[in-house]
Amino acid sequence: MAFIDYYKVLGIAKTASEKDIKKAYRKLARKYHPDLNPNDKVAEKKFKEINEANEVLSNAENRKKYDTYGEHWQNSEAYEQAKHQQQQQQRTYQGQSGTYSEKDFEDIFGNMFGGQDFSRGQRSARFKGQDFNAELQLELKDVYEDHKRTLTVNNKNIRITIPAGVENGQTIKIKGHGGKGVNGGPNGDLYIQFAIKNHSKFKRDKDNLYTNVDLDLYTAMLGGDLMVDTFNGKVKLTIKPETQNGTKVKLKGKGFPKYKKEGQFGDLYITYQIKTPTKLTDKEKELFTQLQKLR
């Protein structure tokens, strides 16, 4: 892992006092706290950095190690921990109770919350675990029907049903699949945001679909039947005689499913694009000229 200059992260000098560290941390925490920056991954990363910096620098012992060992201060921590464990084991062998002091618990909470001051009023609050955010990329056809998907979050497989009709950018909450609760608190939630790619010839606006259909000149002028694609199959349309270019028709209920309204669909709007013939033969030119003269 790359070396992080914790003093730089908190924007303080190496000579900063405890008070300066606390002040700098609080200022930055207010700026980058996830509750104040929802769905902002950059702020989330920054918040983790300042928490880590505060965790180390606000603890006199850790700060001393950091100042002494710099980049390798964590190795010194591991060494110290091993030594501490060894000492504890020795104490246990000697029949002494190795219970934690109140201060030890404070340190544990401090670590969990990234070094924040949790000693207020001797609270040991139960807090909900961290909420997780994930993005799920889907194709438009995937969300035309209810869709089951297995996701792997923190090495755990979660099977979810994605309701038909979810929108691009929409977020759903999977309760209790976030980070573990703190001190017996409930687990956080998992928020899944959908990024829906559309490679079909249909454009979507909420539950309505839009598409263009080519119409040959003769069918447009004389009328007739035409098979057109809808999102889930083909339908036969009757074209009225003298249909103009750009005419729109609505196929009721042939659009996209309405979110969480089973059996209800939006509409499909078709715009006719009349294609005039090219590479005319002499005979065709002659007949069009005759038609022109009639008008």
């Binding site: 925490a29 706290h33 509750d35 807090f127 691009n168 950018g169 454009k203 606006d205 839009y210």
Partner: protein
Amino acid sequence: MEVTDLISIKTFCTHYNVPPTFINELQEYELIEIVVSNNVNYIKTTQITEVEKMIRLHFDLNINLEGLDAVYNLLQRVENLQNEITTLHNKLRLYEDL
């Protein structure tokens, strides 16, 4: 409303180890709604996530009640704007190829 949709303030405060006065103050600032039933004060379970957020902002970041009120209203506006951006973004996609 069913009883299961409510949590008594006493239970909530014991669980989160916050003083009940904090919840009352949140109500005074109209940040949450308190439901009274049989002389017992409750909050709606749907509000728990929001109250948790306010606890964190108040106790961890030292944001006072006035600040919470302002922050909360601004966060709500941010959320509305984000939803509007998503809707507009989806609409834009509709016309992008035209």
